[in-house]
Symmetry: C2
Subunit: 300 residues, 2 copies
């Protein structure tokens, strides 16, 4: 085990405060941060750490990812997820994937076993099955009562949230003892989205980016705004140009004014600095910094 | 009709020289540039101009887009395409779309009629049908003898080209009399790609980007390299920082050294300068510049 600095930060989605329970959200984030931190502490890679954190958040029904994901216009779950390794610049992602409990595990299989970066729809599901990942026996197990109720409410109003921030997307960024960074993001996307819609989450430089030469970032919020302005790449470019992690995410957020967008970002620089910024009412997050200090937040 | 400068540049894909016929490739590019230029001349928008150019290139069986697209591992055509409007920063894209003669027309329908930027797979096809776009009566009409022969040859060798440049992707960028820029890119992707694979083409900032504050760019080549480094966003960022269009694409190409990638880019600045760069053996292209001069190229 090497002795470099290591740290992790996770988010549970930017959005309106709504009925979200601050304590449940921050507790879920902290548990995920701890799961990733244990891997870093033991000398594991940032890539494995962000994957472990993402699995914990996907499995927590409070968040819009994995179990508890938002439902599309048909009332089905379609997941987007991506992992990126800053050491190699390799990435694996899935878009509009149906029927798997942990889309981030399928994304990892794409990273490890495919020459491609992004697989979508039935092709992605076929790749997952060929990689030995077992699909859900019943995909309805991914649907929580809350997600169903929200879908019914929003459908009755014609899905007004389609141009807004979804809330609840999850993400994690980490720096490991070996000096490598990684990022992971996973989501069910917008309630009422068109089947086959892919948001910012699985697109490099949009929802997720990692580069040892700068840092790693994960975004959440209005996907179309984030992917139009490439907010995570913007944040990493700012670090490469000399900004700190907080300055980098502040700069990314200021870009959003061009499209009147709402979003949040977390970021870790390759030096181990943490950055957090959002212009929504809340973005649940938790971190364990390079000094081992834990922290959580929900509102501004 | 206003009197501002206007210009267009198109490409027919970067790749190995192989059996590609320089005259057929450059003639197809020039015909497409003229189709777009006629729209600009008449006072039409850059968005309509790049769409017209892309349709001409999709319909020319010489290019890896529309009719003549490369075949995936199953021997089927799956198209990726995206249009972006620099005036509004709005975009529409499709990934792994099956069964439509002109994917760029479906992408335009996404831009005009969806709150989303990217639709994939069967969800994208469903959107297209609902928008009134008629699918191919027989999708096999998209498959040319050349594409089939290449698929058979590469399959016999285990699809060695999956980590290389595909060749033949098409793209167009234009500046209109009103001072607006736009970009369009369309492709069949890599021969032997996994079903559901989405490359750089329909991802903003990867294969395609347009922003009136800087310019518009379209990339071609090894998709995973282009999307990892966000090459078209990089080029536009260089212009925003003061570079000319040629300096911007040269800078983007130099980024490729980080992943040993092969690609090419075309670019137009909001001032009407043209930029062309590639590190492959050839990139067919044609342009009509702001002085009305036509030009074509194939090799370096």
């Amino acid at each position: 085990v090497q002795v470099g600095r290591f740290a992790i930060i996770v988010h549970g989605g930017a959005g309106a405060r709504g009925a979200a329970d601050p304590d449940r959200n921050t507790a879920g984030c902290l548990a995920a941060a701890r799961a990733g931190h244990a891997i870093l502490q033991a000398g594991g890679t940032a890539l494995d750490a962000v994957q472990a954190a993402a699995i914990a958040l996907e499995d927590d029904p409070v968040f819009n990812a994995g179990t508890g994901a938002a439902l599309n216009a048909d009332g089905d779950v379609e997941h987007d997820a991506l992992l990126m390794d800053g050491a190699t610049l390799r990435a694996g992602g899935v878009g509009a994937l149906r029927g798997f409990q942990n889309p981030i595990v399928v994304a990892r299989a794409v990273l490890d076993g495919s020459p491609h970066c992004l697989l979508a729809g039935e092709g992605a599901a076929r790749f997952a099955r060929a990689a030995g990942i077992v699909p859900c026996a019943d995909p309805r197990a991914l649907i929580t009562d809350n997600a169903r109720r929200r879908w019914e409410e929003e459908r009755a109003k014609g899905f007004p949230g389609l141009r807004g921030a979804s809330g609840g997307t999850i993400g994690a960024v980490a720096l490991d003892r070996h000096g490598h960074v990684a990022a992971a993001t996973s989501t069910g996307g917008l309630t009422g989205k068109h089947p086959g819609r892919i948001g910012d989450t699985p697109l490099l430089g949009a929802g997720t980016y990692a580069d040892d030469a700068s840092g790693a970032a994960s975004a959440t919020g209005h996907g179309e705004a984030i992917l139009t302005l490439l907010l995570t790449k913007h944040a990493c470019d700012r670090i490469a140009a000399g900004a700190g992690a907080q300055g980098a995410v502040d700069s990314a957020l200021s870009e959003l004014g061009r499209v009147h967008g709402h979003a949040g970002l977390i970021c870790i620089s390759a030096k181990g600095e943490l950055g957090i910024a959002f212009n929504t009412e809340r973005m649940a997050r938790a971190w364990i910094d390079a000094n081992g200090r834990e922290g959580v937040g929900f509102g501004a």
